[in-house]
Structure formats: C-alpha cells, structure tokens
Amino acid sequence: MASIQELREGIATNLATISGLRTSADIPDNPNPPVAIVQLNRVDYHQDFQRGMTEYNFAVQVLVGRVDDRTAQRNLDAFCSSTGSSSVSLAVESNRTLGGKAFDCIVTEMTSYGSVVVSDVTYLAAEFNVRVLAS
C-alpha cells in the first residue's frame, strides 16, 4: 500500500527525466521556473472490495517564465506535446508503476493553458491530470 507522498514523489521522479525541468512533490511558496508541481486533486476510495484499489487524481502544474512571451509559449508547447523529450505525458508514463508504488498511471489530459499568478509573479502555465491506480 503506497502513501500519497510516495505516489506524489513517484510522479515527480518521472517528471525529472525531462532535461532542465525542475520538479516539486510539494507546493512551493516561490516556484523557480521551469518547474512541475505535483498536487493531489481527488481520491476515489473503494474502487474494489477489501480496499483492493484506490484511484488518485493528481494535477501536475508546469510553470515557465514569461520573460519572453514567445519563448515561454514554445517551451510550454513542448511540455504539452504527446511526443518528444520534453513531453510531460511521456515522462510521467515512463515508469507507470511509479517505482512499484502503484498499479498503473496515465496522463489523461491537459486541462488548462495560460497565465497564472503565483506570489505576485506571472507565469505561463499548463495543468495536466494524472490518474493513478494504487492499493
């Protein structure tokens, strides 16, 4: 049985395979872009009898700096791609058991793309949903 922290760290470890992308399994007060932040969104318990499976939904928010809008958008596009060395989808699914802590995981969708303000700083950000099945 995996803890939520272990699942969160497993996703962050997979994301760290993207060269140049910082990762954080915890929500930072002052993010240093480009950074992927793993947050727990929802937990669906009792997916099987005897607590055989729980479904965890994580949000991965990727922040890139907006010093140059055009460059920021190109960088974020690469993270959103389904292919390529910067693909968040490919990176998260590079080890689908999250180091043996989960049954399986999949990046289901990218749900938002645009500017966000964190600690009075504006970033360009995209958010991904990650579905994790674990005991």
Binding site: Q47, F49, Q50, G52
Partner: protein, 136 residues
C-alpha cells in the same frame, strides 16, 4: 451492523481470494413458477415453486501479472468452479453469512476496453447444482 454499504465483500473463486480485484458482485437466485390454476379459482392464477436456479455476476479489474486474476480465470475456463461470497466479510456468523455456489465458467473476456480504459472482466456464470447459505 444493520443496513450496510458493501465495502468488505469477500469473493473466493475455487479457494483463491479475488475480492481485491472485484468491484461488483451479484448473486441472482430464481425458482420456476409452476402454474396450479384450476377451474373454480375465482379468476386468479395460482402457482407453486418449481426448480431453483441462479447465476453469479462479477465485475473485476483485470490483472495480467503471473498468478493474478487473468491467469486464475484462464485456468478455470470451461470448468466447474466454486464461488463463495461473504457480503459482510469474514468470519462467517449470524450477521455475516456465506453464499456458496458452483458455477460453469463458460465465458471470459480477457481483453475488454478502449484506449485509456481500465482493463476489466464483467462476467456472468450459470450456477450448476445447489446454492447454499450458511451462518457458521
């Protein structure tokens, strides 16, 4: 416990606990209604019970790992298997009964689902022979 939510149901298939791969179970029991209506029954039909039968339906999350659910089911295909269901968990007692049937494992769906779906097997098997309910 009185009325309860099903969370700790135990399902045993030929002695193998598969509960943690099962997310739904339905044991359906029926008996034939044999008509006994005769003249003089004042216009209403009458019946008595005939032969009993049943079926068991399991919805399962598939697991292809060695010795896991998919392999267990595959080995039982086209055989008669014992299915025991403990709706309130174990041990068996007066408020935690056990239902036991033997069923013909006459259908499997080892692969079912679209891209991105969870691998599942939703199966209904015909009960063959007696259906028992025990409290001890």
């Amino acid at each position: 416990m009185a009325k309860q939510v099903l969370t700790d149901v135990v399902v045993m298939l030929n002695g193998t606990a598969i509960s943690q791969s099962v997310n739904s179970v339905e044991l359906s029991l029926t008996s034939d209604a044999i008509e006994t209506t005769s003249f003089g029954d004042t216009g209403f039909r009458t019946y008595k019970g005939g032969l009993k039968s049943g079926s068991i339906t399991l919805s399962m999350h598939n697991d292809y790992a060695s010795t896991a659910l998919d392999g267990v089911l595959w080995a039982l295909w086209n055989t008669i298997a014992t299915v025991a269901v403990y709706p309130a968990g174990t041990p068996v007692g007066t408020s935690t009964p056990e239902y036991e049937v033997t069923a013909l494992i006459d259908n499997l769906t080892p692969v079912a689902g679209a891209v991105g779906d969870l691998a599942v097997q939703n199966l209904t098997w015909t009960v063959t022979g007696a259906i028992t309910r025990s409290e001890s």
